[in-house]
Symmetry: C2
Subunit: 516 residues, 2 copies
Amino acid sequence: MNGAEILIKTALNAGIEVCFTNPGTTELPLVAAFDSIPGIRPVLGLFEGCCTGAADGYGRMADKPAMTLLHLGPGLAYGIANLHNARRAHTPVFNVIGEHATWHRPVDPPLAMDVEELADTVSGWQCSSASVASLSRDTADAIAAAQKGQVATLIVPNDSQWSQVFDETIFQPAISPADIDKDTIALAAKCLKQKQNSAIILGGRALRRRSLLAAARIQSATGCDLLSETSPARMDRGIGFPLIKRIPYFPAKATGLLSQYQAVVLVGTREPVVFFGYQGGKSKLLTEDQQITPIKAGQPFLPEALESLADALEAPIRLNSKTRDSESLQRPDLPEGRLDATKACIVLAALQPENAVIVDESITSGGAYYVLAAKAPPFSWLTLTGGAIGQGMPCAVGAAIACPDRPVINLQADGSAMYCVQALWMQARESLNITTLICANRRYEILKLELARAGNASPGPMAQSLYDLAAPTLDWVRLSRGMGVPAVSVDTAEELAKELKAALNEPGPHLIEMII
Amino acid sequence: MNGAEILIKTALNAGIEVCFTNPGTTELPLVAAFDSIPGIRPVLGLFEGCCTGAADGYGRMADKPAMTLLHLGPGLAYGIANLHNARRAHTPVFNVIGEHATWHRPVDPPLAMDVEELADTVSGWQCSSASVASLSRDTADAIAAAQKGQVATLIVPNDSQWSQVFDETIFQPAISPADIDKDTIALAAKCLKQKQNSAIILGGRALRRRSLLAAARIQSATGCDLLSETSPARMDRGIGFPLIKRIPYFPAKATGLLSQYQAVVLVGTREPVVFFGYQGGKSKLLTEDQQITPIKAGQPFLPEALESLADALEAPIRLNSKTRDSESLQRPDLPEGRLDATKACIVLAALQPENAVIVDESITSGGAYYVLAAKAPPFSWLTLTGGAIGQGMPCAVGAAIACPDRPVINLQADGSAMYCVQALWMQARESLNITTLICANRRYEILKLELARAGNASPGPMAQSLYDLAAPTLDWVRLSRGMGVPAVSVDTAEELAKELKAALNEPGPHLIEMII
């Protein structure tokens, strides 16, 4: 057994099932090990941004890490942006980078970069494996670190991969002890009992099913509001789940919502802040008058922390169905006529099937969707956590591989879609059940809006050229078919409804360009 | 005048003509400044890898920097891989990153990354602008640093951009004094006179026209061979230029060429090393028995350094035309029948017009091209310097913008092409005279070759799946047309010749998919 094989065997033994990769010469022993130690499914991406974005989507749905395998500095470099999104999503990722042989590094060959420095920008944990002797332990440590909800990077020199292993002991990832600060739970309970107008802001894994059912108990016992961070990694939603108010993106609206609370409890998220610091604006959305109580618990232990809080509040375990706002299905009526962004959202909310995974990188176009889908059948909703655009398409790939029995729908802005457009090829290659809805407004609408907000409502021709995507028009049908994904273009609500139904009824990926 | 405007004014005054960008909210004052201080042409890329790759191509052809404007950490992250290539090419790049307002950074908003750490992986010079008061000076310093042949990164917080300037003094980039170590020139002259079998290895700007004419004088005076690093940033080639032997990629062939020399002089390049450290192999291509004399000179001063060396050797300034190997045009005959990689190279070498810029990211498919084009009409040949694949298409964009009167031909591997495929849209948008020749072998052939070299001639199905791009087949005609670039597919040599002639005779971009 060589180093590559003991790495793969350790990962397989720890429950790793899939590896998103675009390998090169410094990863060849690992490439060969996928055959000699079978069990991990390697999935090829045509660009590392697609690999890391897929690993993010997978981890959000599976709550366990996928492996990546990236080609030294350049491969990691292309993958950094979506690893940043994964970092902000607290996604477990076992991020493996092949590196030059240790003895070859000193000559600084053409592909050499400072891989450690590069990886450090996104990794919660990282290790450059020192020798083949420690490779199983390093692998187990990396996976244990990833499972805490972070990007764990293992850099493996080529000579460690090809060297023979003398001790074939397979290490197991250490099981993390429950990482919950009970004092902060007691404080939160006290605060929620005392304050009239209180809210819990939920983030990370506090927005998954089990957490939300506990949150509903807390709400029922205290009358607090339940809020979500603006861009959650994954929120389980729809009927049966409590209604969650999403903190708006723009500061004035966010402050409008948040200012009504005397007390705010934070679970799985930080104190809410503005995305961008505007001239004359502020960074924080809460004021010093508001009592802020963060519950301290590791991401995997958030459901347990919320259940402890519910118990501390003596909230009944079974809720009376009348107390649940969103018990009964409530779908919008299908709209008619010329499509626009709002109608597109209505069609989606009206037709999305039970158990759908909605990967929402719609940026401005999807503004209406959140509220419209509140009483849809149960579904999971994934958003762009770190603002590195282009995450939607590969995220859908990872989600579909993690959940092959759930339909995945990617509500996707056109400008952002172009960043990792190669993910369509992965969708075709792996025959994934993904329907991509392209919001073809043919501009970076957010940039136009932000320019107007900054007082530049009539930008000059140069500025206009930087948000206008209309010349030439991107032809999404050709792009999609060019990568093997069947595609159509629609410009009425009726056509969209018809094509969305058809896409959802047929296996494999589909793309619908929505001219809005 | 605000900070953004003084930055743009300083850059314009320093000769910056173009900015490759995909801006966001933290760059809005700079976006507006393209209109209020007109003169710099902003060119939108749909992905930052295209912006930085274009800046690389521009700098290689213009020998002066383009500006980039990237959206804080995530935008820089997507651009890092091609900045790595630019770093290895010694390309001047004025790399501007918008950053959060200084007062907003401490709350670590969602898009925040450690931009300085990220930029440090590729920058030869970098500065986080401390305040608007120093912004003109910082800009001038960055441009001066870039002009030395490196990526110079200027990180500009949003508040520095929007703040008003009190002192409107525009700083000029300092002119670098000639950075040539005359002692090393004397040593090189002595070495070339003494040793029978000697060679000069040329790299960086030592492969541009003026350098090469000096190198021809040296060759004529000493009989030395002229060699090139394996992956030059830009080599001016064809009739009128001396014949340059390119150091082969694989170690055995490289050693075969290099072992014949008793002495080697290095100009604009480092001691040649193997790309990858193979099991049982070595890093260096030269041995301790061989005398190595590096000429120490900054990249912009390499032509002068070579002329000094020629003068030191008393080489005549005008060469007798008989001493020039490559004086007379010698084109291969057009091939016939089913296309293959070699025939594709022959067609290109037979038809490429005078003054063409050949951007060659053909990886394995273009193996035959280098020798075939030796006696073509004068042209420039640009290659992948840092091994971060995907550089070809955006490099062609930058080259075409730097040299609007020269036809640009991109000989492009299909797998690599998918990395920055969005560059086709830039080609259409800017109506650039670029003909892209896609080498559609539908696999990562280099990975297959390297697996075989590593003793894995019959890889298992998992390994095979990681170099096979055939399922589904990429349809380059659809992809290209989807981004507004007219395209055809050919599978015979005759069709290729016909379509290449047609593409070169018509303005604007074209793509030819070559099924090989």
